[in-house]
């Protein structure tokens, strides 16, 4: 009997969340998510603490609820479907509601406009070219994560924030602990504390010796009494983590996905058309959807949607990974097709919390995907797909290592 009961299907028939991906399908969301999506737009899941929040699996309902002002992202509210027993907000405005969220967010949006991001493109191209030069001159095979995928966005976000890249081992290691699902609350709090202390020290330095970076701008607000120094440090932590870990995973996992779809890789390598490159980025964002732990919210009022009533205080989990595979929004959704129009995907979320760094992420990925495979045309996996360590235990999905040869 027991072998027929997987951990995803407990006795009550309500699946546990998060769920497991199927063996041999590293790019697809867990099959249980697809089953739930077929049952209806709103079902229920069971969390680690026994609570049973709503699971919203379809694209239209996910967008509607994520953009609904009656839905809160405030982790301290009762009913919020927390990932662990820690309910304190140590990561800042992504777990707050408006108007406080909007006030803080607008303090850091300026460097992420389309214009400012485009102005950074030559610098990112230089970073990418230099790292490829180093790889070509170094040992073969190499781990693409360590030699390329992590350094590219880390160098870029360090420049933008004003964080010394020399400290990358420190902030990358602590980020890893924070986003690992298996970290204990103590481990996570420790890593967050170390990063907050580090950013606080940098904000202090920028108060004394400001330069042209974002931390200096935050420090100026601290100096003007508009922003508590601790909040400035928290914002710095958030942007530092979000700025390198996500894009790094998209670079490595995207490369692996393309290596498994050689005809798509060839099309991307041979094109001179920036529109096709941009389209490929959108499709890879949709298809891979690396933030695979579900957006989490709590209802502030009763909300009628899809023939159901979500009660005030009910928790909501909105896994955009399965929303991006909803056949109602994308035809043949499980196929990677860089030629499709995927621009309406929800890889960056939806609503007021949608990723503020998305123009930067897009530009970085456009530079990477249009350069790496052209300059390393014989790039291939050094080893078997089965041996690749996937981040099943991360709140952000990807690969821990990607051995490649050329």
């Amino acid at each position: 009997m027991t072998e027929t009961l997987s951990s995803d299907e407990p006795q009550a028939g309500i699946p546990e969340y998060p769920m497991r991906r199927a063996q041999g399908c590293p790019f697809d969301p867990p099959p249980t998510l697809r089953d739930e999506q077929e049952k209806g737009p709103l079902t229920k899941v069971r969390l680690w603490d026994g609570s049973r929040p709503w699971l919203v699996t379809r694209y239209a309902e996910q967008r509607a609820l994520l953009a609904d002002p009656r839905v809160s992202a405030d982790i301290t509210r009762p009913g919020y479907p927390s990932q662990s027993s820690s309910r304190s907000n140590s990561i800042g405005f992504i777990l707050m509601d408006d108007p406080e969220h909007a006030r803080l967010r607008r303090m850091v949006t300026a460097p992420f406009t389309i214009k400012r991001t485009e102005a950074l493109r030559p610098r990112v191209q230089q970073i990418v070219d230099d790292l490829i030069d180093d790889m070509l001159a170094g040992p073969n095979p190499v781990d693409l994560v360590e030699s390329f995928a992590l350094p590219v966005p880390s160098l870029v976000i360090c420049d933008l924030l004003g964080v010394p890249y020399a400290d990358h081992d420190f902030f990358q290691d602590n980020s890893k602990t924070i986003i690992n699902r298996d970290s204990t609350d103590e481990q996570r709090a420790g890593a967050l504390g170390r990063l907050a202390e580090y950013l606080d020290r940098l904000v202090g330095e920028k108060l004394d010796r400001p330069s042209e970076d974002l931390l200096s701008q935050l420090a100026a607000r601290v100096g003007a009494g508009e922003l508590p120094r601790g909040e400035a440090a928290r914002i710095g932590v958030l942007l530092l983590i979000a700025g390198h870990e996500t894009t790094a995973n998209m670079i490595a996992l995207g490369t692996l996905a393309l290596l498994q779809h050689p005809e798509q890789l060839t099309a991307l390598r041979e094109t001179q058309d920036p529109k096709l490159v941009a389209g490929a980025v959108e499709e890879l964002l949709r298809y891979l959807h690396i933030t695979h732990s579900g957006r989490r919210r709590v209802a502030l009022e009763d909300i009628e949607i899809a023939g159901q009533v979500i009660r005030a205080g009910d928790g909501l989990i909105l896994p955009n990974d399965i929303g991006n595979r909803d056949p109602r929004a994308f035809s043949d959704p499980d196929r990677l097709d860089i030629h499709r129009d995927a621009r309406h995907h929800v890889a960056f979320g939806f609503g007021v919390h949608q990723c503020l760094g998305q123009p930067l992420a897009r530009m970085e990925l456009q530079v990477v995907y249009s350069t790496l495979y052209r300059r390393m045309p014989t790039l291939r996996l050094a080893g078997a797909l089965e041996d690749i360590p996937f981040k099943h235990d991360g709140s952000v999905y990807g690969v821990y290592e990607l051995p490649v040869a050329w």
């Binding site: 953009a67 214009k115 309406h344 007021v352």
Partner: protein
Amino acid sequence: MKVILDQDKCVASGQCVMAAPEVFDQRDEDGVAILLNDSPSEAGTEDVQHAASVCPALAIRLSA
């Protein structure tokens, strides 16, 4: 077609600028969207409709 933009709702995602750069731009100081042309030509209709549909803050409304 008339375009109505609610700057208070805008979260500076830049999606509208990507979709319809001849109709939308962003303020330098905080990335909040600005309207360059509130009555775009027929040729631009599809882009503007796309901009409205991908705006995460539902800050863009279109009227006939």
